[in-house]
Symmetry: C2
Subunit: 309 residues, 2 copies
C-alpha cells in the first residue's frame, strides 16, 4: 500500500515498463543471468526465483542474477516461494544510495536488504532485513512523533551521529547495521557491500552510487537495479532437515528471557504473530493517509477503489 503510488508513478512516466517480459541471457545447470527488461520488480523477482527453484530441483542449487530490475517489494516474498517447494531460499537487492559507509560523510550504498527463508514443517525461519541499522521508515516515524533518534541510526551532514530526526531525514545518510565504528558498524557496511556485489555488480546492473535516487514523484531514468535469487535443496545434505530446523527454532525460543514478558523470538515470529492478529481482527487497519492516497489513486487512474469493510 505504501509503495503503490511510487510504482504507479514510475509506470505512468514509463520509467518502468509494465508490459516487460524478463528474458534469460545466459544459463548453466545451476545459474542464470536474466535481463528484467525494466519490468516491475515483482515480475522480475517471481520469474527469477521460479527459475532458481527449477534449477535447485535439478542439480541442488539455483543461483539467478537479474539486471534491469526495479524495486521488488518485500525481500522475503521470494524465499517464501522456495519454502513452499521444500527448498531454502534467499534473495538480495541493491537500492538507491542511502547508507554512509563507515568513516564516510556521504551515502554510497543502499539499505540493501537480504532475506533467507527456511522451511521447518509447520514452523519456519524467515529473515528479511535491511543491512542498515534501521530502515528510512523508522526515521520518519520518530520525525512525525517529534521524538529523538537513538545513537547509531543516522548521520548529520558532517558525518557525525545525530539524534535529530528531522536533520537525519533531510541528510539521508543512514548508518550501517552496528552503527558507529566502535560498535562494528563496518560489519553492517561490509554486509551492504556483500549484497551489492552479489546483486548489482554480478548482474551487470547499476551499483553503489550508480543507482539513481528514488522519489515519490517517479524517476526519469530506468533504475536498472540488480537482484539475486538463490534456492538450495536441503535434501542434498543430511536427511531430516526440517525436523532439525524445528529443534533449532525451539532451542532459541526456549532461552530464558531477560524480561519474562518478552519471550525470545525467531526470525519471522513477529510477522506470524501480526498476521494471526490481522486474521482474528478480520482485516488490516489502514492509516487515514493511506486510505486518502488510495482514494486519489483510484480517481487518477479511473479504477474502482479498494473496498473496505
Amino acid at each position: 500500500m505504501n509503495r503503490l503510488e511510487m510504482y504507479l508513478n514510475d509506470l505512468a512516466i514509463n520509467s518502468t515498463d509494465g508490459s516487460a517480459v524478463p528474458k534469460i541471457l545466459k544459463e548453466t545447470p545451476s545459474t542464470a543471468w536474466v535481463d528484467g527488461c525494466n519490468g516491475l520488480g515483482a515480475v522480475v523477482g517471481n520469474f527469477c526465483m521460479d527459475l532458481a527453484i527449477k534449477k535447485a530441483k535439478q542439480v541442488g542449487v539455483g543461483w539467478v542474477c537479474a539486471k534491469g530490475s526495479n524495486h521488488y517489494g518485500i525481500a522475503g516474498w521470494y524465499p517464501m516461494r522456495a519454502m513452499k517447494e521444500g527448498l531454502v531460499g534467499m534473495s538480495m537487492t541493491n537500492t538507491s544510495p542511502l547508507m554512509a559507509p563507515t568513516r564516510s560523510k556521504e551515502a554510497a550504498l543502499g539499505t540493501n536488504p537480504l532475506s533467507l527463508g527456511v522451511p521447518a514443517k509447520d514452523d519456519k525461519f524467515l529473515l528479511d532485513m535491511a543491512t542498515t541499522a534501521v530502515a528510512v521508515g523508522k526515521i520518519e516515524i520518530q520525525r512525525r512523533k517529534g521524538a529523538p533518534l537513538p545513537d547509531g541510526w543516522a548521520q548529520d551532514p558532517e558525518g557525525r551521529v545525530t539524534n535529530d530526526a528531522e536533520l537525519a531525514f533531510q541528510t539521508g545518510c543512514l548508518m550501517p547495521l552496528g552503527g558507529p565504528e566502535i560498535n562494528s558498524g563496518y560489519k553492517g557496511y561490509g554486509l551492504g557491500g556483500l549484497v551489492d556485489i552479489l546483486s548489482g555488480v554480478m548482474a551487470g546492473a547499476n551499483y553503489s552510487t550508480k543507482v539513481r535516487k528514488w522519489t515519490h514523484t517517479g524517476a526519469n531514468t530506468a533504475a536498472d537495479l540488480g537482484q539475486v535469487f538463490i534456492a538450495v535443496d536441503p535434501n542434498c545434505f543430511a536427511p531430516d532437515f526440517e525436523e532439525r530446523m524445528c529443534d533449532f527454532n525451539s532451542r532459541l525460543r526456549s532461552c530464558t528471557p531477560t524480561d519474562p514478558e518478552k519471550p525470545v523470538l525467531v526470525a519471522g515470529d513477529k510477522e506470524t504473530i501480526n498476521m494471526k492478529a490481522v486474521d482474528e481482527a478480520g482485516g488490516i487497519e489502514y492509516l487515514p493517509n493511506q486510505l486518502k492516497t488510495c482514494e486519489s489513486l483510484s480517481q487518477r487512474f479511473n479504477v474502482n477503489p479498494i473496498r473496505f469493510i
Copy 2:
C-alpha cells in the same frame, strides 16, 4: 599462533583426529555433503572449498556442507582459495554458544562468522566477520587494560548490557551485531541464525546449544561443527565482472571521509595495509606471552621451536 595450543590440546587428547581424511557422503552436480570425520578444521575446510571450486567451474556454483568438523581458523582463508581461481567464495561456520539471542539471558548461538571473498584484478573485496558485535578477543583486551566496554558489546548474568569487561568475560554472553533491540540487534541475531542453519543444521552437525564449550585445556568430546563452503563463477553472469569490482571498490574508497585522517576503507583493506607493514618490517612482532607459549609447546611435544630473527 593464538589458537595453536588449543588445536594441540584437542589432538593430544584425541578429541580431534589428526589423521582423518574427509569423505563425500552425497553429491549432485552443484552440491556435496561431506563428513569431516573429526579432522582438523583446516583440513576439512580446504577439502570442501576445493570441491566447491571444482563444481563451480563445472556447473557455475559449488555448495559444500561439512559435518564432523572442528575449529577452522580464519573464515576468510577459504574464499581466498576460490579468489585465486577467479571465483567468488564464501564460507561460514558455527561455533560454541557465546552469543545471547535478542531478549535472551543466556547464550544459544556462537560468534558464527561468515566470509565473502571477491576477486577484482589487482584488488579484492574480502569480508570476514563474526555475527556478534565483537569477538571475545576484544572483550579480553579491554579486560587486560582494565578499561570499560562500550554499550552494546556484552551482557551481564541478568541479561542487561554491561560495561564491565571482567563481568562480561565471566558471563560469556556477547551481544549480536547491532547490540540491543533498539539498535536492531535482532538483525545480528538473525544473521547468527542464518550461519548456523546453512552450516550446522543443514550439514547434520551440532548446532545452537548442542555445540560443546571449547576451552584452552581441550574438550573431551568431538566438536562436530558444521561448515559451508560456496564458490560461484562470476563468468556465468555479466562479462567484465572484475573490472566492475574495481570500480565498485573505488567508488567506496573515494567517499569524502568524516575525518580527513581516516579514509574510507573496503572490506579487507585493513588487513592488506597490515600485511604490507609486516613485509616492510621484515616480520611479525609477537607478544612475550605468545613466545612463551610457543617455547613451552615445543618442549612439551619435543619439536624445534619456531625460529625468530
